[in-house]
Symmetry: C2
Subunit: 204 residues, 2 copies
């Protein structure tokens, strides 16, 4: 089994946190997105849309999408549990994985990718849309701040995949020029989360 990934991008970071929590180490190959190495024919044969990271199973089946890889590892390495155990708890984790993705990660990423000059390599930028996406992200962050009052984790009573999504989304606000200090509850929660070894490791 081996992983094709890239350094610093949000999706690879989500997977890195997950693998660290599970104490799974993988052989890695890195590609450079800014050089558009994800357009290479040999990579596209494994990832038709050019998305990174990609996990190659032992039979060489390529598995793309971080959540798919995470769910795969949850099956083969069940401890610690990161997707819930009962159908109800699993549904809550899946729900919050989706909400953090669609209401936080997506608009924050769009604000960054459409607004940051460096991202013109990866995105056909629309400046006005960057502003609308940032507004949408801020709205979502407000709703999420309200949800996170008096909570240690996004859902359940332990760290799950939903927390991973939320942490990576909140870390991305800086790139999208959204000031997280507008929501002290989120700023404080992120600081606390950043002390977790799996998350601290991202910056080492």
């Amino acid at each position: 089994m081996r992983l094709i990934t890239t350094q610093g991008a949000p999706n690879p970071q989500r997977l890195d946190i997950f693998l660290h929590e599970k104490s799974i180490e993988l052989t890695r190959t890195h590609i450079n997105l800014m050089e558009r190495e994800h357009d290479d024919e040999s990579f596209r044969a494994k990832s038709p849309f050019g998305r990174v990271p990609v996990l190659l199973l032992d039979d060489e089946t390529p598995i793309g999408e971080v959540e798919a890889m995470a769910r795969y590892f949850e099956e083969v390495v069940p401890e610690p549990n990161l997707f819930g155990l009962s159908p109800r708890d699993k549904a809550l984790v899946s729900m919050w994985a989706g909400l953090t993705e669609f209401e936080l990660m997506t608009p924050i990423a769009h604000a960054f990718r459409h607004g940051h000059p460096r991202m013109g390599v990866l995105e056909e930028q629309v400046a006005d849309y960057a502003l609308v996406a940032a507004k949408k992200a801020s709205y979502g962050l407000g709703v999420f701040a309200n949800h996170m009052q008096h909570r240690d984790y996004v859902c359940l009573d332990h760290f799950t995949f939903a927390d991973i999504n939320a942490v990576v989304a909140l870390r991305m606000t800086k790139l999208a020029k959204i000031d997280l200090n507008q929501w002290p509850v989120l700023q404080k929660w992120l600081e606390k989360m950043c002390k977790r070894p799996s998350i601290a490791a991202l910056d080492q």
Copy 2:
């Protein structure tokens, strides 16, 4: 257990196909998005971001996000299987559920929501972004058409949740003013899929 949903929107349709495949019937309440009933305080208490549909479990826990509900029902009503059985097959379904969502459904929905005059009620529209999203959608549809050559299903050898996402995304192209006939393989596949009772039921 009961469902709060709305008629005609893509996410409710994804869930309706899934429930039909599983022969699950639920008590339903409908809300009207164009009247912005998803902003009502009582609904927001169940769905903080105002997203529809929402499933209320017997203990009144609200579960949002179609994929979360679908995964819940897969646990409690395992037949027919719609998310794969082995870790590898489950990973393939999860991967293609994500790819169809991010590479097809999202840009097609954005082209529609930012481009269609009627959608101004739900979205702060950016006309230029509607065009960029349509271009991105067309690119994704091209890649997906290539993947679907010589295939009956998006992945595995049977109908799964990934097919549901793909069908709903392809049906949405009309609203986004993207002509699906540009990809005859997709047009043909959609026509075949629309004969499935679970999908035919959407238009009845």
